[in-house]
Amino acid sequence: MLQIKDLHASIEGKEILKGIDLEVKKGEVHAIMGPNGSGKSTLANILAGREEYEVTSGSINYLGEDLLELDPEERAHKGIFLAFQYPVEIPGVSNVYFLRTALNEVRKSQGLEELDAAQFLKLVRRKIDLVELDKSLLNRAVNEGFSGGEKKRNEIFQMAVLEPKLAILDETDSGLDIDALRIVANGVNSLKSKDNATIVVTHYQRLLDYIVPDVVHVLFKGKIVKSGGKELALELESKGYDWLK
């Protein structure tokens, strides 16, 4: 599904990623771990198409296409979803209107008919329970005045509605208490299927108690220095990152 080859990227002239190789297959869950400043969020943002990051060399192939040639919205249409580390507020735009617009854009790009308000509401009712999101948040402005936990759950709710092929969770666990963590993880797990894949970017191991990865990668100073099974995460938890230097 996703092949990253020798990816180098920089922001404002400073090189952050120094040669990343990564392959993600359908049905897999990959965890990318690493200390602060190792380049985890950079990688997540590059996959989503954020312009501030400049890819200096290397390639990304997604479902047989050159991902780097696609605009962010085209990537979204083709099933890439980024759960933001810091979800953005859009005052005056209701959460449910925003999400319907998003879903319909994706559907239009796939030649599907747009959903009207009634059809969409039906879908929303089904999905909202997955993340135990308070229904009153649907008609509030996007993320405005949401608590940290509500924002993160709202991201997973959007993911549930948009049903992406490749979901990238950028530090979704940061700032969550243990209950919220469990709810978010349950949401992610119940959306898992043999046709989609998930990349979980995280600083801590604890999210991986709930979302069990097939592969764990350790990112350090812009390179993947170690990959392994889920036990690698536990090893990192007990030993820290220092032993990898």
Binding site: G49, E51, E73, V88, I90, V93
Partner: protein, 480 residues
């Protein structure tokens, strides 16, 4: 700027290139203004004698007045002797069918959802003798007259209801109020007159009718709306379709009179030609709008301003009666080289008077957008309350937003609150929308419409939908 944005901009340009240039058959005076010109205007319109005196008085005062220099707008000096002050327009259709009209223009109309027959009117296409909207308008007129509501051109009102007009004309905006109001009083061409009798709730928004008749109102428009005791009227001015006019200078006056317990809701959507890419040729819109609210009366101004090269406009409410309410909701959007200096004045005179101001400025391109507002609490105004919220949104880094709030409180029981914010559409917000599948123009439009929500919800439903579309179209090409 990307090529796509350039294309969009050139499209927006074309929208104004065709359509509104109508051949005017000559029945016009030469350019220039003097007392004889005013006499001819009054005579041509068969006005009662008092009207001529009123106009002349205004003209004599105008001669001694100076153009205001305090607004934050810049424009070359206007030569008032170059303007034609009277021409009787006889519009001849420019096209025989819509097929001949520039397709880009039609696309804009379609985007705005304007009905086909109205498109013809707007584009200058000959219309059939049996024309749906006209007959609808006639039906409206009959229904209104059944309830005693008068709604007609002010020139007609001067002939048919001279006493009523005489009683209220200039009672809110005196003929000598300011430079442009004085000029308007001297030479006004036409406009609307509305009278709603005691206790009558006007059964419809006075809009569709107006839109059809909007073409001949000219550059010095005069509107007078009187809501008698306990009555209600909602009036919609303007049109979301792009409008071009031969006259560069527009100086309108609108007066509202809300008698005891009456309510007037006045909504405007203004989309005059804003000028070319260098900011040349756009319309100068210098408007005086003011209402007086008597005891327990309420006046609401709601405006969505997207057009004109220069806008100079401060819809105001004089809260004369006890417990009266004044409201002002405004979205002013400027793009390219547009300049807007707009806001409101709330003058609290009566006891327990309340005013509410929500102003949303949006600046894009190289435009300048200023909010200028006055809240004045007079000594007599016990327990006056005001709340003002003035927000500015910047798109890009070559535009400007400015806020000039003036507050004068002369009664210690008054409470005046003012909040102001300035924000930029963030890359973060746009990327967030992009990542969810919206392209950048959609994203900006969504964010801007969200920002304006508090104002849009004050507009009548149909107008609100049009205003949202209009804003999206006006924003096209503003993000590279």
């Amino acid at each position: 700027m990307s090529t796509e944005a350039e294309q969009l901009e050139s499209l927006a340009q074309q929208e104004y290139k065709y359509g509104f240039v109508t051949d005017i058959e000559a029945d016009a005076l030469p350019p220039g203004l003097n007392e004889d010109v005013i006499r001819i205007i009054s005579q041509k319109k068969k006005e009662p004698a008092f009207m001529l005196e009123w106009r002349l008085k205004a003209y004599r005062r105008w001669l001694k007045m100076e153009e205001p220099k305090w607004p934050k707008v810049e424009y070359p000096e206007i030569n008032f002797q170059d303007i034609i002050y009277y021409s009787a327009p006889k519009n001849t259709p420019k096209y025989n069918s819509l097929d001949e009209v520039d397709p880009q223009l039609l696309e804009t109309y379609n985007k705005l959802g304007i009905p086909l027959e109205e498109q013809k009117m707007l584009a200058g296409v000959a219309v059939d003798a049996v024309f749906d909207s006209v007959s609808v308008a006639t039906t409206f007129k009959e229904k209104l007259s059944e309830m005693g509501v008068i709604f007609c051109p002010i020139s007609e009102a001067l002939q048919e209801y001279p006493d009523l007009v005489k009683k209220y004309l200039g009672s809110v905006v005196p003929a000598t109020d300011n430079f442009y109001a004085a000029l308007n009083s001297a030479v006004f061409s036409d406009g609307s007159f509305v009278y709603v009798p005691k206790g009558v709730r006007c059964p419809m928004e006075l809009s569709t009718y107006f839109r059809i008749n909007a073409q001949n109102t000219g550059q010095f428009e005069r509107t007078l709306i009187v809501a008698d005791e306990g009555s209600y009227v909602s009036y919609l001015e303007g049109c979301t379709a792009p409008q071009r006019d031969e006259n560069q200078l527009h100086a309108a006056v609108v007066e509202l009179v809300a008698l005891k317990g009456a309510e007037i809701k006045y909504s405007t959507v203004q989309n005059w030609y804003p000028g070319d890419d260098e900011g040349k040729g756009g319309i100068y819109n210098f408007v005086t709008k003011r209402g007086i609210a008597h005891e327990n009366a309420k006046i609401s101004w709601t405006q969505v301003e997207t057009g004109s090269a220069i806008t100079w406009k401060y819809p105001s409410v004089i809260l004369k009666g006890d417990n009266s309410i004044g409201e002002f909701y405004s979205v002013a959007m400027t793009n390219k080289f547009q300049q807007a200096d707009t806001g409101t004045k709330m003058i609290h005179i009566g006891k327990n008077t309340r005013s509410n101001i929500v102003s949303k400025g949006i600046s894009a391109g190289r435009s300048n957008n200023s909010y200028r507002g006055l809240v004045k609490v007079m000594k007599s105004a016990e327990n006056a309350r005001n709340f003002s919220q003035c927000d500015s949104l910047l798109i890009g880094d070559k535009c400007g937003a400015h806020t000039f709030p003036y507050i004068e409180v002369n009664n210690t029981t008054g409470r005046v609150e003012h909040e102001a914010t300035t924000s930029k559409i963030g890359e973060d917000q746009i990327f967030y929308c992009n990542q969810r599948g919206l392209d950048t123009e959609q994203a900006v439009s969504l964010i801007v419409n969200g920002y304006c929500k508090e104002v849009f919800r004050e507009l009548p439903m149909e107008f609100a939908v049009e205003a949202q579309k209009l804003l999206s179209i006006s924003l096209e090409g503003s993000v590279g």
